[in-house]
Structure formats: C-alpha cells, structure tokens
C-alpha cells in the first residue's frame, strides 16, 4: 500500500484532532489551527486525487483497525470521494475567510474558539460522510454534523437565530430519526451494516421476493430522512431562517456543504447499498422527481416574493436542491452526473452569493432590505462583482458554472425515454426564467446609482478593496472557481463519470 493511500484516514483524524485541541487554545490560535487543518486536508485530498488519476486505481478500501470489514470499520476512497473532499475544503476555507470580519461583529469574542471547534468537527464529519463505507459510521457522523450545524446557527445570539436553530433541530432530528430507523430495519433484514454486503443481500431479497415490502419501506424512509435533512421542497420550512439570520460563514457553509454532505451520502446509498437497478425500478425515484420539480418552482416563487436579500438567496437554495433531486429522479446515469455537477456548482456559487451579499448590506447601513441596496454595487465594487457573477451563474449564463449543469440536466432530460422528459424540460425553462427575475432584479438594483444626498441620509458609505483585502481575495477566488467550473467542465465531468462508475 502506498503511503498516500492513508490520506482519507489522516484527513478525518487531523480535522477531528484539531477540533479537540482548539478547546484549550486561545481564539487566535484556534483560528490559525482551523485554517491550517482545512488547508492541509485540502492539499492532501488533491494529492490523493492526482495519485488515483495517475495510477488508474479506481477505488480502494482502507481498514480502520486490525479487523477486516464486516467485523471492523473500514473507509473507502475513490476519485469522486477525493475530489469531493478537496472541493469541500476549498469552499470551506473561502467561506471562513470571507466571513471572518463579520464573525467579530456578530459573535461574542469569548466564544470564538468554540466556533472553530464546531467548524473543525463539521469538516471531519463531512469527510467521514464522504469516505465511509459503513452505514452506522455514516449515522454517527450525521449526528456530529447535525449538532455542529445547530451550533453554527445559534452562535450569533439573537432571537431569530435561536428560533431558527430550534426549527432546524426539530426537522433535522426527524430526518436523523428516519435514517436511523431505516438503518435498524436494514440491519434486521440483511444482517449487515457494511454497504457492499448489504447490497449483495439486497439483490438476493429483491430477486426472491421475501421481505420485499419492508425493504421498500426501509429504502423510502432512509431516502426521505436524508431529503428532509437536505431541505427538499415540502420540508424546507427550516431553511430560510437558518440561512438568513446566522452569521455569514455559517450560512455559506450550511448551504454549500452541510446539505451537500447529506446528498452525497444519499448518492452513496443509492449506488452502494440499494443498487441502481432496484432504486430505479421503484416508485421512490418518481416521488423525488416530482418533489424536485415542485421545489424548483416554489423555491423560486418564494424567492421572488422576498424583500430581504439574505432570505432571498436562502430560498433560491430550495430551488437548487430541487434541481439536484430532479436529476436523481430522472432515473438515468446522465441525470446523476448532472446532479453531482450541480452539487459542485451550487456549493461554489451559493457561498459566493452569501458572502458578497454581506458586503453589499454592510455598505447600505446594515439594512438587508432591497430598498436600501440601491447603488451598493458602486459602494463596494468587489462585492458587487461577486454578487453579479454569482447571480449570472445561478441563472445559467454561459461561461459561468450554472450554465454547464443546466445544460447537462437538459441533455439528460432529452434522451430520457420515459414521460419525465417533457415536465423536466418545461420546468427547467420556467425555473430559469424565475431565477432570472429575482437575481437580475437584484443585480439591476445594486447597479442603479443612488443620489449622494440620499446615501448620506441613510448612513451608507463606500469601501475600497484595499480596506478589505482578505474579503476581496476571497471573492476573487470564488469568481475564479466559478469560471473554472464554467469553462473547464469536461475534465470535471469525466472525473464524476469515472467516480460514479467506481461507486457501483
């Protein structure tokens, strides 16, 4: 075994250990340790990705302990896993640097090191969700992820965030409970917790016809549990408050990473536990499809009606999650690839939008209302550029990343042989127009100049980029990431395709 194959194990342990150490460190050192941990894990994952691509090893199993798989724990790494880990690290690092100034304004200084503990722990749980090959390990880390996310929401202490955290907790625990119940029943039916073993028994059960009904219920419960946790349409009520009022780094990470971790786990369960044939022949996929379509429309409608810019971006997340589930629901490989690509696109774009929106509201006397934003794109130019790029990407303008995933969705829909083709294409078109309405409306507003006297009256001010170097660098890097995903999509798609092929 090459030394580099230790990377998944090292990255989980490093992020967890840095969380534990942060509990005795001062705020300053906890911050440095957090940045270092994310950087190191990101670089290591990148190296692993390169190694896996070069040598052509599809995926390999890493034993966690002295005992082989069904008795001990194991993790599994492949191209897609390594790539996802690297991407999550990049987005997390940028989200943290982009919201650093805001953290000082909004969170009590004495509690900063707890914030970094939570972020470290969240990183480790995301990595574990990415690499795990065992359903129970996945559940344990889902738990850590949920609690960390709750803490990230309520660390900015005002009434709205506490309320949002309570809502998030209730909905998220409902999802976790359903997932746990599903895992228990799956264990009862198959006698295994290891993904590959369950899949073998599952195929047998489905072929024999014994325990068919409880198996379908189990699969349904697990899917719905994870769908609730990642805010699929009818269960999204917790989302706008949780993303809209928490401190900006938390909002960016929650929207772009936490929900994506659960979706990635769901993909893993589809491929490695249930098996694609079984899930595609069941009606569960159809339900995901319909709710995905509804989410695409209703998320956008809610966003159009919203007058608070942060909440508008949050509602747009509902629509984007709808896209991802719609891709699952198409019931074909191309749809799955498009969904995974959209996970990347959404993660890169939504965190950019949240972080640039905070720059715009800051120069508008802190008001988040639309009316105050007039001309804010001139007052904080770098944030204006970031917001414009994010908006164009979400609408799906070519050269930005959103275009590629929409193109992939449309392509997948057109070659779909079932009834799902027309609804997908029509809703895709309508949703794009709706996206354009609310995002471009905001972009036009931030670039509509405001009278100087009015600006002074409202208490807004201008800020140059050299007064906020870290923030500007973050936005520029995010824009570059977006452009890379938008203009250089072929290798990424190839990576996703090989990764998904290794999954099965």
């Amino acid at each position: 075994m090459d030394f580099i194959q230790n990377v998944p194990f090292f990255s989980i342990m490093i992020s967890m250990f840095s969380g534990i150490i942060s509990s005795i460190l001062s705020e300053k050192w906890a911050k440095r340790l957090n940045t270092a941990a994310i950087l190191v894990v990101g670089i290591m994952s990148g190296a692993l990705l390169l190694y896996l691509c070069r040598t052509g090893i599809g995926s390999y199993i890493f034993m966690m302990g002295h005992f082989p798989a069904p008795w001990g724990n194991e993790i599994r790494a492949g191209v897609l896993e390594a790539g996802m880990a690297m991407f999550f690290c990049i987005v997390m690092l940028l989200s943290m640097t982009g919201g650093r100034k805001k953290l000082f304004d909004e969170v009590e200084y004495t509690k900063h090191n707890i914030y970094y503990i939570l972020v470290d722990m969240m990183l480790s749980s995301l990595l574990a969700l990415i690499y795990t090959n065992d359903l129970f390990t996945a559940y344990v880390f889902v738990e850590i992820n949920t609690i960390a996310a709750c803490g990230l929401i309520m660390i900015r202490q005002n009434g709205r965030t506490i309320e949002a955290a309570v809502r998030y907790m209730i909905m998220s625990l409902l999802g976790s409970g359903l997932l746990l119940m599903g895992i228990c029943m799956l264990y009862d039916l198959t006698g295994h917790l290891l993904m590959s073993n369950i899949k073998e028994v599952m195929a047998e059960i489905m072929a024999n016809g014994t325990y068919r009904i409880p198996m379908l219920v189990t699969v349904g419960i697990m899917t719905i549990g994870l769908a609730i946790k990642s805010a699929l349409f009818p269960c999204h009520a917790w989302l706008p408050d949780a993303y809209g009022y928490s401190t900006v780094s938390s909002a960016a990470m929650l929207s772009s990473l936490v929900s994506k971790g659960y979706i990635f786990l769901l993909i893993k369960i589809f491929y490695r536990v249930i098996g694609l044939d079984i899930i595609y022949s069941s009606h569960i996929i159809g339900i995901l499809f319909i709710f995905g379509l509804c989410g695409m429309l209703f998320g956008s409608f809610s966003a159009i009606g919203e007058k608070d810019i942060r909440r508008m971006i949050a509602f747009s997340s509902v629509a984007q999650i709808g896209y991802i589930y719609m891709g699952f629901g198409l019931g074909m490989k191309e749809g799955m690839v498009a969904s995974v690509y959209h996970i990347l696109v959404h993660a890169a774009t939504k965190s950019l939008l949240f972080i640039s929106a905070i720059g715009l509201t800051d120069v508008s006397a802190g008001s988040r209302s639309f009316f105050a934003l007039n001309g804010s794109g001139y007052r904080n130019r770098i944030a204006g550029i970031g917001f414009a790029v994010g908006s164009l990407s979400m609408v799906g303008i070519p050269i930005f990343s959103g275009f590629v995933s929409k193109l992939l969705f449309a392509k997948a829909a057109i070659i779909n042989p079932t009834w799902k083709m027309f609804p997908t294409v029509i809703v895709l078109a309508i949703s794009t127009i709706l996206n354009a309405i609310y995002f471009l409306k905001t972009v036009i507003r931030i670039y509509t100049p405001e009278d100087l006297t009015v600006e002074k009256e409202k208490g807004s001010y201008s800020i140059r980029w050299d007064e906020q170097k870290l923030y500007a660098a973050t936005i520029i890097l995010f824009v570059v990431l977006n452009l890379i995903l938008g203009m250089n999509s072929r290798p990424v798609i190839h990576l996703i395709e090989t990764g998904l092929a290794n999954f099965a």
Partner: protein, 324 residues
C-alpha cells in the same frame, strides 16, 4: 414602426411594446417588477397621523386577538389535523412494516450470520475482553465509538454557546443570575447533606468500578461515567457550588476532556494505522479476565468515562448557573 397605424396606437399593441423594449425605448421592468418604497411620508397632517396610528393599533389588536380570529382558528384546526394525520400515517406504515419483519428470536433470521458468530466465538481471543460488547465497541468498531464520544464533546460545545454567560460583573452576570435563581432554595439542608455525605462516596466508587471492570463485566465508560456524573451532581446540590468549585472548575473540565479525547485520538490513530498496514501494534492483550488485560480497552474506557462524567456535570452546572 408601422406604416399602417399611427405611432401612438402602435405602441399600445403587444408587438409594438416588444419592439420598444428591444430598441430600449421602454423598460417594462421599470416601476413594475420591483417593490416600491412608499413616497410622500411626513407630509400628512396631525389628524391623518393619528388616524393612521389608530388603524395600526386596531390591526395589531385584531391580529393578537387569537380567540376571535376565524382565519387563525381555521389555520390551527387545519394544522393540528394535518399533523395528526401525518403522524398517524407514519405510525401505521411503520407498524405494518414491523409485521413484515423477520420474527424476533428466530434462528433463521438474516441478522444471525457470520458477523455475530465471529464476535461471540473469537471476541475474547481477538480483543482480550471478556465482555463482548466492550470488545466490540472499543476494539472492533472503535472508529464509531470515537465518533460517538466526539458527539458528546460537541454537544457540550453547543450547550456552552447557548448557556455560558461570559459577563463577569454587574447586571445579568453569571453570579447575579445564580443568586437570583437560587434565592428561595434551602441553603444547607441537613437531610440532603447527610444522605449525600453517605451516598456520594459509594456512588463515585461504584462508577469507578463500572468503568474499570468494563472489559470484564457489563458496563464500561459510558455507563460508569454517567454514574460518576450523577454522584457529582448530587454533591453539588447538597453542598452548593462553592464546595465543588474547589476541585472542579471550567479549567478542570477543559483539561480533563482535552486530555482524554486526545489520548483516545492518538491511541486509536496508532492502532488504526498499524491495523491498516498489517503491522503488529505491540500492545499486549494480557490474560483475559485479569483487570490489566485487553490492551487499549481499559485506558480507552477510562477516557470515555471521564468525558461522559465531565459532560454530565458540565451540563448541569451550565443549566444552573451559566458557567462554572
């Protein structure tokens, strides 16, 4: 531009409007799509303002009068019945599913396979622990248990965020809030103090026994730690925070949980690393049944026990006082 109809009429037709939009003469979004700010404020007379205020007040009163608001009651009825229906459907579905699951205790169940058989057969030999459950959670599947103890750690962190009061002096500080909350509590209850005096040493001793014998008899870090935590809480309730602060402060908590979790992390990382590379770990398993046996399980049990005890106690103190 049309040659057949005059300019004005042409502009009103849809095709004309489209043309104007394309050439940039007219912007259909302008003043239409965006919500507008109310203009002309501050120009009303006193009377109008008063009327406006009265209106606002009446609306607020109407909105707060939940008993007579028909819309609200209807919504509540709908909400409750929908919630009831959802819960009942889910319950019914799960009950029906349970009826289809393999019967409990049947020898032919799928869960009775080679996994459980190996745990029972080779458990003692592989891990050195007489108690198979402990061997399973702290050796076979130690990675999961490491995650589980981190769940406790991170739960304490979130409770710290919510409850810790960092204000040192003045109104709303932790000291003052505690004094206000416990104003009516009996200060030194003789019965409670005497019984605590007798019970606490035994409780803590029992907790230590459960932790140290985790690999030999039922019990282990989680249960033993909970017992010790309960003993500490009883002591705190009987003698007050001043007594416990002498040996257990926020600093103690921080260092104990840091040390035990770091030890867990480092020890298990070593064991995972050697396991994955098929190296000998070099940790002797000892003779099964002895107190000093089963390799890493005993120290790990102690670590988990310390973390659990501290967590329980910390929760209690945070809820009571908002800080140590």
């Amino acid at each position: 531009m049309s040659r057949l109809i005059p300019e004005e009429e042409y502009g009103k037709r849809p095709i004309g409007a489209l043309r104007q939009w394309m050439s940039g003469v007219r912007d259909p979004y302008l003043n239409n799509v965006e919500a507008k700010e109310k203009t002309g404020q501050g120009e009303e007379s006193e009377e109008q303002l008063e009327e406006y205020q009265r209106e606002v007040l009446s609306v607020i009163r109407k909105a707060q009068d939940t008993a007579n608001n028909s819309q609200y009651t209807l919504f509540r009825k709908f909400y409750r019945s929908a919630a009831l229906i959802c819960c009942l459907t889910l319950t019914l579905m799960l009950l029906i599913t349970v009826a289809y699951l393999p019967p409990v205790g049947n020898a032919g169940n799928p869960a009775h396979n080679e996994v459980a058989a190996k745990y029972i057969k080779d458990g003692m030999q592989d891990t050195g622990a007489v108690n198979i459950v402990t061997g399973m959670i702290l050796d076979y599947r130690a990675f999961d248990t490491f995650g589980e103890s981190n769940v406790l750690f991170i739960a304490t962190c979130t409770v710290l965020i919510l409850m810790r009061n960092d204000k040192k002096k003045g109104r709303g500080s932790a000291e003052e809030e505690e004094r206000r909350d416990s104003f009516y509590e009996p200060k030194s209850d003789k019965i409670l103090q005497t019984s605590a005096m007798i019970l606490v040493p035994f409780i803590i001793l029992f907790g230590i026994y459960v932790i140290l014998n985790g690999h030999l008899s039922p019990g282990g870090g989680f249960s033993g730690g909970a017992i010790i935590g309960a003993g500490l809480i009883l002591y705190l309730n009987a003698f007050g925070i001043e007594k416990t602060e002498k040996f257990f402060t926020a600093k103690t908590y921080k260092w104990i949980s840091f040390c035990s979790l770091s030890f867990y992390c480092i020890a298990k990382s070593y064991s995972f690393y050697t396991g994955a590379h098929h190296l000998e770990s070099g940790i002797p398993l000892g003779i099964p049944g002895n107190i000093l046996s089963s390799g890493l399980i005993l120290p790990l049990n102690i670590c988990v026990g310390l973390v659990v005890a501290c967590t329980m106690y910390a929760f209690f103190v945070l809820f009571r006082k908002g800080g140590f």
